[in-house]
């Protein structure tokens, strides 16, 4: 084997253990989540005969007796082996109110052994005479489904199979997605406005002073995120330090205390604080490499300070501006902790909705679909970052 080939093998052999480790501990979980966003076998597994009987149904006339019979037997069986709760939950997400119908029916059907099943079931609950109920069962009976993604994009599938947008007042996720993008953009701009002069000051200060100033950026960078978020709660809440100071100074009255937290203001302030170092550090490393003679040359050629800045200095810092802005924006759109703790109800972002469906509504398919959309967005930005900046140049201060 050639020397080059041996070198390749050796390099690959060193990297391979970690690649395998990341594939198992990190990529496999992400893949599991993506599978969950399109694969929901709960109903198909529990009610297979019902789903099969509905396959031929025209969707308007009452379903065939076979469907009633299968549903009656399989619902009772699902109640026996305790899968009914999950089945009812899944169907209920497509058409709300059906959770009760399914559990009630399964309970009543336990003792019934003979049909005609249509009469029996419609006797238990009127909902069985409504085609919409059967549509919901047929819809959730598909093992592979696009409904979580449709749901996450505020769309739904109509009984005839076509896709339509949700009515205006039921659109939740697209407005939230738009809000997440807007807020992240605003935070990125804020970080750039605040971070650019500071990075400039540090980059061109005498070394000893630069180190002290840099520490003021790095200490927050290293400090626990929870600590920083706690600090903002302490400062911003209505009985907090800033309001106390304002009241003491007489700037606001005791009942005029400003609510700066548990709303979008709190989210923006705290996230800007958390993400600012991610802007300052790349800017700083780019600015440090700019020789100061360039500015002197511009001035000596008659440029005003503004001209020299705009035509000479600013263009050279663009790589840092791009790197910092992309990094801040990528981190901002996926932010969870800070909005969850200081955002109240109006300051929540898309990640918080993922957490809500994971932990509270237990609609894991929808959580996975929202996560999938967010992940796709971040991946695109990550590729752009890699193209423009190169991931290996991510700096950690």
């Amino acid at each position: 084997m050639s020397a080059g080939g041996r070198g390749r093998l050796r390099a690959l052999g060193l990297v391979l253990p970690l690649l395998l480790f990341i594939l198992v501990t990190f990529v496999a979980p992400l893949a599991t989540m993506l599978v969950r966003s399109v694969h929901e076998p709960v109903v198909a597994d529990a009610l297979p005969a019902t789903v099969a009987a509905l396959a031929e149904w025209d969707g308007e006339s009452p379903p065939p007796e076979a469907a009633y019979e299968a549903a009656a037997r399989e619902l009772a069986a699902a109640r026996e082996d305790r899968t009914l709760g999950r089945v009812a939950g899944a169907v209920n997400r497509v058409r709300s109110g059906l959770r009760g119908v399914l559990t009630r029916s399964a309970r009543s059907l336990g003792g019934v052994t003979e049909g005609p099943w249509r009469g029996v079931m419609e006797g238990i609950d009127d909902a069985w005479a409504d085609p919409a109920t059967w549509h919901a069962i047929r819809e959730t009976g598909r093992r592979f489904t696009s409904r979580h993604y449709l749901n996450a994009l505020d769309m739904r599938r109509l009984p005839d199979g076509s896709v339509a947008r949700q009515p205006e007042e039921r659109r939740i996720y697209l407005p939230l997605l738009r809000r997440t993008l807007m807020v992240s953009a605003a935070i990125t701009v804020l970080c750039l406005l605040l971070g650019y002069p500071v990075a400039h000051l540090i980059a061109h200060a005498p070394e000893r002073r630069a180190n002290v100033l840099l520490a003021l950026v790095l200490i927050p960078f290293w400090t626990s995120l929870l600590v920083r978020t706690t600090a903002w709660i302490v400062l911003l809440q209505t009985q907090g330090v800033i309001n106390d100071v304002l009241v003491t100074l007489g700037l606001v009255g005791e009942d005029g205390r400003i609510s700066m937290i548990y709303n979008m203001t709190g989210t923006v302030i705290a996230m800007t604080h958390v993400l600012l170092p991610f802007m300052v550090l790349p800017l700083y490393s780019v600015m440090r490499a700019i020789p100061r003679q360039y500015m002197n040359a511009a001035s000596s050629l008659g440029a005003t300070p503004a001209q020299a800045f705009l035509r000479v200095y600013w263009p050279q810092t663009l790589p840092g501006v791009g790197a910092g802005s992309l990094l801040v924006f990528i981190l901002a759109i996926g932010y969870y902790i800070t909005p969850a703790l200081v955002g109240g109800s109006s300051g929540q972002l898309i990640s918080n909705m993922v957490a809500y469906h994971m932990q509270t509504s237990l609609n894991w398919g929808l959580a996975a679909a929202l996560g999938g959309i967010l992940l796709a967005g971040v991946l695109v930005l990550y590729l752009v970052y890699d193209r423009l900046v190169g991931v290996e140049r991510l700096s950690l201060g």
């Binding site: 990297v15 000051l201 200490i219």
Partner: protein
């Protein structure tokens, strides 16, 4: 690095430009420095405010009149005593250390090996491998946490220390890979060749020649990985049971329910911890740079 004199966009040798205008430099520079000072205060002040409040003798998290008068009776160590005596906090410290140290060792060992491979010019598909290894740092943590919850519970590692350690290792790996590859880019590969020509085997040359030289990068990476695990709450929130509660998880519960100054005492402890880590990393980087 040679020190640069202080300069602003309007600074220093701009005499020609300045001569024409009525001293815009001084005012401009004042505004600029003042603005930067405000931004730096914005960065550091929230963290500094926590520290004195953690010594509050009263159960408030705002300054009492006594504290402002610097009355010694207004300050106390009661919140520190409270966390030291509270078994919930001590147990979560133990959990944080178990998970953090194990994840750090694993991430550092695997990450350093991989960085050695990545630094080699012969490495195929270097860029792809690198972006894959760094992806845990960029992926929104809520997505990682949700995926890990599904995956680890499906293979029986939900609510176990091992599952949490593996998850935190994955999150720490990018930091090790980044710092070690950065250090290796400054490494002169002639040194290992010289060692080899003097009869050293590859392992011996690595241990005696390369490792001591890249050690600062390895240790910085390890500290980053540890800090990441020690501050991680979302994965813990999704994957850990009562038995695996860590310090951040406990703080999360404290912040959501009611902030008592006991939280501020923990926060102060974490601030001191972060500052020490930062100082060590800065010292290592300076040593590595020489």
């Amino acid at each position: 690095m040679k020190p640069l004199p202080g300069t602003a966009p309007t600074g220093g040798g701009a005499s020609l430009a300045l001569g024409r205008v009525f001293r815009p430099g001084a005012l401009g520079r004042g505004v600029y420095v003042g603005f930067c000072a405000l931004v730096l205060v914005f960065l550091i002040a929230p963290i500094l405010v926590i520290v004195p409040l953690s010594f509050n003798a009263e159960p408030y998290f705002t300054f009492t009149e006594g504290m402002l008068r610097l009355d010694p009776d207004a300050y106390s160590l009661r919140w520190y005593r409270e966390i030291a005596e509270n078994e919930v906090w001590t147990r979560s410290l133990v959990n944080s250390l178990i998970v953090g140290v194990s994840a750090t060792l694993l991430a550092t060992a695997l990450g350093t090996l991989a960085a050695l491979g990545l630094a080699s010019p012969a490495m195929p598909a270097r860029r792809v491998a690198m972006s894959l290894l760094i992806s845990p740092m960029i992926t929104p943590v809520i997505i990682s946490a949700a995926g890990m919850f599904f995956f680890y519970s499906s293979i029986g590692l939900g609510q176990t220390h091992l599952g949490l350690i593996l998850a935190h290792t994955a999150l720490g790996i990018p930091f090790v890979v980044i710092t070690v590859t950065a250090t290796l880019s400054g490494f002169d590969s002639n040194l290992t060749r010289a060692a080899a020509s003097l009869g050293a085997g590859p392992l011996y040359a690595f241990r005696r020649v390369q490792l001591p030289l890249i050690a600062p990068g390895v240790v910085s990476g390890a500290l980053f990985a540890f800090a990441t695990s020690f501050d991680e709450v979302v994965v813990v929130l999704f994957m850990a049971g009562i038995e695996q509660r860590t310090i951040p998880r406990q703080m999360w519960a404290g912040i959501r329910e009611q902030i008592s100054p006991a939280i501020l005492a923990v926060a102060t402890f974490l601030i001191v911890f972060a500052t020490v880590l930062l100082a060590v990393v800065a010292w290592l980087q300076r040593r590595g740079g020489e």
